[in-house]
């Protein structure tokens, strides 16, 4: 493995999103902070507690996870897809870079972006409602594995997609609805059957609730169960993404 190549590709990917930070960092920060202001601050002053914590705090981990899911997906998918379309992927394909280096560099950069946005959202929330993290270990675990998983999903989507429309399916019609239905704004314990049970089929429920446990110590699902689902998703995507990269699927004709 070429460490110089890996380092270069990783730095290139980090610079790519930092050069357009208005779009890649500030924009999701503003959008997510608006959700927080409307739902957490405005509505939260009316609502009482949920799962034993003030509503204004309850929504914070959900929003942090929602933006991290979206940003890690968007970073790899748009970068890889754009270079496929404008032909700059050639620069990587002719280089002594294997599937593993590509995966590490793209996923690493996407995780950095998602963590930056996620941390900034948390900081914004802290200015309204001060609360320390309940459990650092779980928080880091879910942040790391969820962003890595979604970054790999973004790579798979970019490899598969042939036009921008294909790519837009994921954030708009899959990730956003599943995050909402995964309990960003509510506890699924409030749902009647069959919706309570149906909700448990949604993998994003475990991502949201895992981070909520790390932040607040409360969740609809035990952190161990959430960790299990997240780890399985991680391993599945690791398998799919590395297999596609190794075979050159839609990259090397």
């Amino acid at each position: 493995m070429s460490t110089v190549a890996l380092k270069t590709l990783f730095i290139k990917e980090v610079r790519r999103f930092s050069k357009v930070w208005l779009q890649t960092v500030l924009s999701p920060l503003v959008t997510t902070s608006l959700y927080f202001l409307v739902f957490g601050v405005a509505l939260g002053s009316r609502l009482r507690e949920i799962s034993g914590v003030p509503y204004i705090q309850f929504v914070v981990p959900g929003l942090v996870m929602m933006t991290m899911i979206r940003d890690s997906f968007l970073n790899t998918s748009s970068s890889l897809f754009q270079s496929k379309i404008n032909g700059t992927i050639t620069d990587i394909l002719v280089a002594p870079i294997g599937a593993l280096e590509m995966l590490l560099a793209y996923v690493g950069a996407a995780m950095i972006r998602a963590m930056i946005v996620g941390s900034l959202v948390y900081l914004v929330a802290l200015t309204f409602t001060w609360f320390p993290l309940h459990h650092i270990g779980w928080t880091v675990f879910f942040a790391v594995f969820v962003t890595a998983t979604l970054a790999m999903l973004g790579m798979v989507a970019a490899l598969w997609a042939e036009k921008f429309d294909h790519l837009a399916i994921f954030p708009n019609f899959v990730l956003l609805p599943l995050a909402f239905l995964g309990g960003v704004f509510y506890s699924i314990d409030l749902l009647p059957e069959p919706w309570h049970t149906v909700s448990r089929l949604n993998p994003l429920l475990y991502m949201v609730n895992g981070l909520r446990y790390g932040f607040l110590g409360v969740a609809d699902v035990s952190p161990v169960a959430s960790a299990g689902v997240v780890l399985i998703s991680f391993l599945v995507l690791l398998g799919v993404a590395s297999a596609l990269l190794r075979s050159g699927y839609n990259l090397r004709s």
Binding site: K12, R15, K19, L93, V94, A95, P96
Partner: protein
């Protein structure tokens, strides 16, 4: 005996049912300029892509200095450089940044001095910090050539580098090709301008519908067909082959 710089053995490339290269075998030797000629769609780019890693052959093997391009891809890609047919550029990076990044991607520790030297060689030093999209077509083409050289390849592929390029730049490019050869780089180029091949190439290969019709040194080719231009010889071969295909 030294292995040839490039050895293709029975290479076949299919896209679905379509056969773009048919059982092609070819050797290219150290220090030569090899011109690959052929009509549009003959498979010139496909062959170059199979060698450089942009495509994978369906059958057969390709070796660069004795290393297999599939098994030892990390080694062969360090040895090979490619100027692709289509201009591409990353809108996020300036020419200087692009060269530094490409060096790193090729596994060479990025070296600013070398990047600046390349920019000078290709008359891009005034544009080194410009947005790449603001470069003229000729400048973008020169940047592509500079990028292909960052790791000092032993074997350089130029895929129609002069298509749509003005006379002046074409001359400059060919001068650069000759300089590179003088410095020991082996060069494989494709071109539509047959008179260019006639002037530059040591050996010539004519590809048609995925098959090599001929591989011969320019000298012996012109000697065999005394008094005729390479263009005439080329056209006759292609017509004959077309007749055979039609029959």
């Amino acid at each position: 005996m030294k292995p040839p710089v490039l050895r293709c053995r029975h290479v076949t490339k299919r896209y679905g049912k379509f056969t773009a290269l048919q059982d092609l075998s070819l050797e290219v030797y150290e220090g030569e300029i090899f011109a690959l000629l052929g009509p549009n769609g003959a498979g010139k780019s496909t062959l170059i892509h199979c060698i450089t890693g942009l495509a994978k052959q369906s059958q057969g093997s390709i070796e660069v200095l004795g290393f297999d391009t599939m098994r030892d891809f990390r080694t062969t890609r360090r040895l090979v450089g490619l100027v692709p047919q289509e201009i591409n550029y990353d809108p996020f990076f300036t020419p200087l940044e692009s060269l530094m990044i490409q060096m790193g991607l090729m596994g060479v520790e990025p070296n600013r001095e070398r990047a600046e030297d390349l920019l000078k060689t290709f008359a891009l030093d005034e544009k080194r910090d410009a947005y790449t999209r603001t470069l003229s077509g000729g400048m973008k083409r020169r940047l592509l050539v500079a990028k292909s050289l960052v790791h000092e390849p032993r074997l350089l592929f130029l895929d129609e580098p002069t298509a749509g390029v003005d006379v002046e730049l074409r001359r400059e490019l060919w001068q650069e090709v000759q300089d590179l050869r003088a410095a020991g780089t082996t060069i494989v180029l494709t071109t539509h301008y047959i008179e260019e091949a006639e002037r530059l190439a040591d050996r010539i290969g004519i590809l048609h519908k995925g098959e090599l019709l001929l591989v011969e040194s320019r000298e012996s080719l012109l000697e065999r067909h005394a008094g005729r231009s390479l263009e005439d010889i080329y056209l006759e071969l292609i017509r004959k082959a077309d007749g055979r295909h039609a029959a």
